[in-house]
């Protein structure tokens, strides 16, 4: 928990702004004749945005050339990265749950379904960023993650404008559930990889030995 104080307050402020902004956007959109599915997709863009808010902090050991120091201290990079990821993960999940509660109340949708629509994009964002973090060990890693998150937001926006897709029909819930399980498994594998990556300098930089 000591690491909390070393994450800039601006990061938390941006996350709060994303949640509040999405809530406000949702509230305004409810006044118009949008379909529920469109609003869900709109709100789900909060997932990659929340990840974007924390990604620079997660990758800054690389971008700020702090790896060597952080590998030589008592609590090494492996632990540090896991702590940072957990802090952001918890904060993001709180934000998404808050949005799900609001949506469920305003749109009379089942909270579990709303959470499903929010968590799958969130997990996909996390998998992509972790994949990049594990494989692109350069100071630019954070920018690649930003690009990936931007791509996801774009796809979500496209889906939002095509609400007739079968993906949002109640019969497709099983597909979403399967996606949720698969993405959770994917995250678990990538987290294990993060642990390996953050152990020594050669794994951290992927030096060929």
């Amino acid at each position: 928990m000591a690491q909390l104080r070393f994450i800039s307050w601006k990061v938390w402020a941006v996350q709060l702004l994303i949640v509040l902004g999405m809530g406000l956007l949702l509230h305004n959109s409810l006044q118009q004749s949008n379909r529920n599915v469109q609003l869900v997709m709109l709100t789900s863009t909060a997932a990659p945005l929340l990840v974007i808010a924390g990604i620079q902090t997660l990758t800054r050991s690389l971008s700020c050339h702090m790896l060597e120091i952080e590998l030589s201290t008592r609590h090494i990079l492996e632990k540090l990265t896991l702590v940072r990821m957990s802090l952001f993960g918890i904060a993001d999940l709180i934000g998404l749950t808050l949005l799900a509660v609001i949506m469920s109340a305003w749109m009379q949708m089942e909270i579990a379904v709303v959470l499903l629509y929010l968590l799958v994009p969130f997990n996909l964002t996390c998998i992509g960023c972790l994949w990049l973090l594990n494989r692109v060990r350069t100071p630019n890693c954070g920018y690649y993650c930003l690009f990936y998150c931007g791509l996801l937001v774009m796809i979500q926006m496209i889906l939002m404008f095509h609400p007739s897709l079968w993906l949002f029909e109640s019969s497709a819930i099983g597909v979403w559930q399967a996606l949720l399980i698969l993405t959770v498994i994917g995250i678990a594998f990538e987290v294990l990889d993060v642990r390996k990556t953050c152990r020594t300098l050669e794994t951290a930089f992927r030096i060929q030995v």
Partner: protein, 297 residues
């Protein structure tokens, strides 16, 4: 009593042998690593810090492998890497608190130690300033401070004097001399005079191996009779420079005094002079890239 033992330590990167079968026993004291670029100094230091694993061989602290000691070893360790950065949005004191937290210190302990170290490295007045506003020398001093936060028993400093002005270098040398009691201090530097002043023992590395170890006197004694002084006309300087390893050149009226490092006597009128560590370096590394005598590349 501290004892850091390296036993046949090798490190290969792909086909390159960065460190080649180094065995040495280090006790309390200051050890200076001397060698040309690419000699394997940084790789060796990284292995001593446990952030690189040897391809073969072992590194032990008081008889226990450092890899197995894990946190217990890192608790004893302070490390200043050669190329390192900072989180630019941190102030100097926040940076030290942060490193303190990584070293397992409580915030209270970190704050106390940070204050003390910032005073030691003369950064007390800028403690609350953002690191991005610091000069190279100030950043280097902050790096030295972070390495000392946990009062380490093994202090590894890779190019600690890089970017420091002469006054800061003197201050640093005194600081190390002060700190070295009951510690193993291993430092590498390109600045031969720094090693000469600070180190009790010098470890000379060449092409990944340990070429020689000893005190300044012991090392320079090995090239006794290989350093010459002679006076020549200025027009011949170019020819002599091409033919011999000239470690110094000084104009004296209408003649030029050359200091030459050579196994053979370069001229009849040449007189043997006592060698310095710089001469020793040139003697062994004259074929290596021409950096390192007085400044960082």
């Amino acid at each position: 009593m501290l004892e850091l033992t390296l036993n046949k330590v090798n490190k290969h990167f792909s086909t390159k042998k960065a460190v080649n079968g180094i065995s040495i026993r280090l006790n309390s004291g200051v050890y200076g690593l001397l060698g040309a670029n690419g000699a394997g100094k940084t790789t060796l230091m990284r292995m001593i810090c446990g952030i690189l694993n040897p391809t073969s061989g072992t590194i032990q602290m008081n008889g226990q492998e450092i890899d197995r000691m894990g946190e217990r070893y890192r608790d004893l360790l302070g490390y200043l890497p050669q190329d390192f950065g900072y989180y630019p949005d941190f102030s100097a004191e926040e940076f030290l608190w942060y490193v303190g937290s990584l070293k397992g210190l409580t915030l209270r302990a970190s704050k106390g130690k940070a204050r003390e170290l910032l005073r030691t490295v003369a950064l007390e007045e800028v403690a609350r300033k953002k690191i991005r506003t610091f000069s190279g020398g100030m950043k280097q001093r902050l790096g030295i401070a972070q390495a000392m936060l946990n009062d380490p028993r093994v202090l590894v400093l890779d190019e600690p004097t890089a970017g420091l002005d002469p006054k800061e270098r003197v201050r640093f040398r005194n600081l190390i001399a002060d700190l070295a009691r009951d510690k193993i201090v291993i430092l590498s530097t390109h600045i031969v005079s720094d090693v000469e002043y600070i180190a009790d023992q010098i470890l000379v590395m060449k092409q990944g191996g340990l070429l020689m170890t000893g005190t300044v006197e012991q090392l320079t004694a090995t090239i006794e009779g290989c350093v010459w002084s002679c006076h020549i006309p200025p027009r011949e300087v170019e020819v002599w420079n091409a033919r011999y390893c000239v470690s110094n050149l000084r104009h004296e009226g209408d003649r030029v005094e050359l200091r030459i490092v050579s196994t053979d006597k370069p001229a009849d009128q040449a007189a043997a002079v006592p060698p310095t560590l710089e001469d020793f370096y040139l003697y062994h590394f004259q074929d290596e890239p021409a950096v390192g005598i007085g400044e960082k590349k």
